[in-house]
Subunit: 473 residues, 2 copies
């Protein structure tokens, strides 16, 4: 891992040295009362996102904005003093994208939580700090649905979802965050507030700036508000659970199913994940199975049963040990909850480094086989859970807490898994973002020309390099 | 209309004057044999896209590239000589995006037509000049489907679809071009070929450069190849046709249906369009109806009938004059073909200026009422066809050929319709692009800050301003 200060310096070669004694009183005066936190204990609570990376820096101060005007004032102040800004939503990021850098101001959007549903346009206008679950609940009151569903949907913010182009379990049929963002309010590096898009569904006027900001991890601007597309409420899904001797067999069945129908969920857990969940909260999963496939259909009417039957047939033809189906949503939800809890269950086995690699779906068997080899070679555990229908997997490198030598082996495995995914035509991150933890691996994926293009855009939008330096690229 | 030479000059303030005697022999030598056209008659055939704008300029030469290397050589040569480049696919654009500017080189991708389907990843790797229909046909051979379906799908190229972020009739359920672009090969203004994305479905590594190039109308780079996402073949749709006394009633029913289900098509024709189609090719449409709604469901199994029944009920509750449904795909296709032919039928009534304005769906009645008022005030006909489920409409301003005074009134109406859409929270273009014809209206929609941001990105990627000057923004 590189040090944070090096990250911050290298983010933009034109970054100027920060003002050594910036006028925090002026910042406080420009903000709503109580927005600025400077006491060390309060500030320290904003050092980390969920990665709790020990290399995270110490912020100078924290701004808890309650309006776009607060965000603008903070960005202008930071620009005037050359102070790095680290935007932050709910702090649930898994790649260190909102871990602090030394001397930065953490710009938290947690107080900006308004959610307004417009049933006539089927849109939600949402402040960046609102939680994903809050949007889902507000939409449900109008018979509408906001599909993107990261496993962390109860605790992650829409701003963070936009910053990382977050995915989830339903993406295999319903797409990712960018597919639902119709409009964004963004504060640019010079403090200008721009409004992109709106409540219209199709719009190709001008450059796709809206899409450029989605997934930009706070490096090009600070998103303060999003207009999100809603769809009619999902039909209650039917669920299939199938076990396989071998994880590669399960992966092949995923490919076969995808060629025939669009399942609304297609998740995979390998043996180590199954056992981690059983250890954590026993629910009678088959500990001997090499892999478990969890699929759903939310097709309307009788088609739901037909899709489940076809998936069952393909599992059977693909060598499933056992296959169980249910049309009871509550029973299905038990298995989904187990899948959602898998990362937390695995976390109880040690300290973790969470991957988010993706490959073209037919390369899944090669990826899973290769990960097992890396685990053996580096002498670490790497349980895998996957949004298999999208080829997006979460290998979890586990090592004993406090063991520096084991940590080094884990870091090696973490890096090798990313290289493997790249070799298989894949990506180092499908939905969590590059953040600070995967930044060193990005050039291997993108190559020098795309990295140069990336830096040209960054420089055009943030010439001082104050926006989330060290994150994203 | 501004003159083209002014457009070319104002595209980028740093544009240098073009070399008055560029070395075309050197360009020819850098290309595959036969790629360069310089004879006046051959070159003149590449002046216009479908808009046939009389202000289009005369190219210096035309390059018909047969490889990315040809494209790179052309871009490098143009950069060295300061010559503007106008990229061109099939020339079916409806906004003048590939109309020539004086002294430019038209860079045609028409010879780059390879289409490769990979059924295991469900992707198509497609050269930019391949037609949309060729991708659909190649996918269908593997039981797969490429959804985006502009009405011109039989004659438009994938490169043009990417350049404009093209839509179509199925977008209301299946989304637009950007939703299916997984990868792009792009030649940048300095001749570098970058490869963005790939065959993976979820990928959030680095900035969303892929999405930035979609819809950029050849102003940021030249797309030479696209990797497109395919989905399982569509189920045969059932069709509903309903007529209404008033177009606003029909628009309200569109809103009501959208709140309950996701139709796979939701098109609307007003009285003038219905009559234009009947005049052109009689098929017994109700000439007295104020509007006709054409909807389809492709839901699987019995759900298809349920969706059609629900739509029928909502039409009836919404005051439909008549309602007809069919599960016969051929019968339904007759109505869809009538809808697709509407623009061509309207074109027989005079010279046209084709709009592509969109509004939030509930604003459709206001838009349609307002367009009727503009038609009266400007004394022109403005029949309307619409992808109503998306709020995307095609008002067609019709005026007598060769009548300069009528043309001026038509241009006024064209401009007023765009302003109306903007006032209703809409866009000047949902799927055709800004091109050269709508460029003057863009600042009114985007505002000065977003225009400035757009120019910063343009300048970062094309500092000489050689890529499609005068188009897009």
């Amino acid at each position: 891992m590189t040090t944070v200060s090096k990250d911050a310096q290298s983010a933009d070669q034109t970054a100027t040295a920060p003002d050594p004694s910036p006028d925090l009183a002026a910042l406080a005066a420009a903000l709503a009362p109580g927005a600025l936190l400077t006491d060390p204990a309060g500030v320290a609570a904003y050092r980390f996102d969920f990665t709790a990376d020990e290399d995270a820096g110490m912020p100078l101060a924290v701004v808890r904005a309650s309006s776009a005007a607060d965000v603008q004032a903070t960005v202008r102040w930071a620009g005037a003093h050359g102070i790095p800004l680290v935007p932050r939503g709910a702090g649930s990021g898994l790649s260190g994208g909102s871990n602090a850098v030394d001397g930065c101001v953490v710009l938290s959007l947690e107080r900006m939580r308004a959610v307004e549903i417009d049933p006539s346009t089927r849109t939600a206008v949402v402040e960046a700090g609102a939680l994903n679950v809050e949007v889902k609940q507000a939409a449900a009151e109008h018979g509408l649905w906001y599909p993107p569903d990261p496993s962390s949907y109860e605790i992650c913010s829409i701003g963070g979802n936009v910053a990382t182009n977050a995915g989830g379990l339903c993406c295999v049929k319903y797409g990712v965050t960018t597919d639902y963002v119709l409009g964004l309010d963004v504060v640019l590096a010079d403090g200008t507030l721009v409004r992109l898009g709106g409540q219209r569904i199709k719009d190709t006027a001008g450059l796709s700036l809206l899409k450029l900001f989605v997934g930009s991890e706070g490096t090009l601007g600070v998103v303060t508000r999003a207009t999100l597309r809603l769809v009619p409420a999902q039909q209650p899904p039917a669920t299939l659970v199938a076990t396989f001797d071998d994880v590669a067999d399960a992966a092949r069945v995923v490919v076969a199913i995808g060629a025939r129908l669009r399942a609304s969920m297609m998740e995979l857990m390998d043996q180590a994940s199954i056992n981690a969940v059983e250890d954590h909260k026993p629910m009678g999963l088959d500990r001997d199975a090499g892999a478990m496939l969890l699929a759903q259909s939310d097709a309307p009417g009788a088609a739901r049963g037909e899709e489940i039957a076809l998936m069952e047939q393909l599992c059977s033809e693909g060598g499933a040990r056992e296959c169980f189906t249910t049309t009871e949503p509550d029973e299905g939800e038990l298995f989904v909850a187990a899948r959602r809890a898998a990362i937390y269950a695995i976390e109880r086995r040690g300290t973790i480094m969470l991957e988010d690699v993706g490959v073209p779906v037919p390369r899944l068997p090669d990826l899973l086989t290769g990960i097992a080899e890396i685990a053996r070679a580096c002498d670490v555990e790497i349980p895998v859970v996957a949004h298999a229908g999208d080829g997006n997997t979460h290998p979890v490198v586990v090592y004993p807490p406090g063991d520096a030598e084991a940590r080094a082996r884990a870091a090696q495995a973490f890096s090798q898994v990313m290289s493997l995914a790249i070799r298989l035509g894949g990506t180092i991150t499908g939905e969590h973002g590059v953040g600070r933890l995967k930044r060193d691996a990005l050039p291997e994926q993108l190559g020098p020309d795309v990295m140069a293009l990336t830096h040209r855009i960054k420089h055009a939008l943030d010439p001082q390099g104050i926006l989330n330096p060290g994150a994203g690229f």
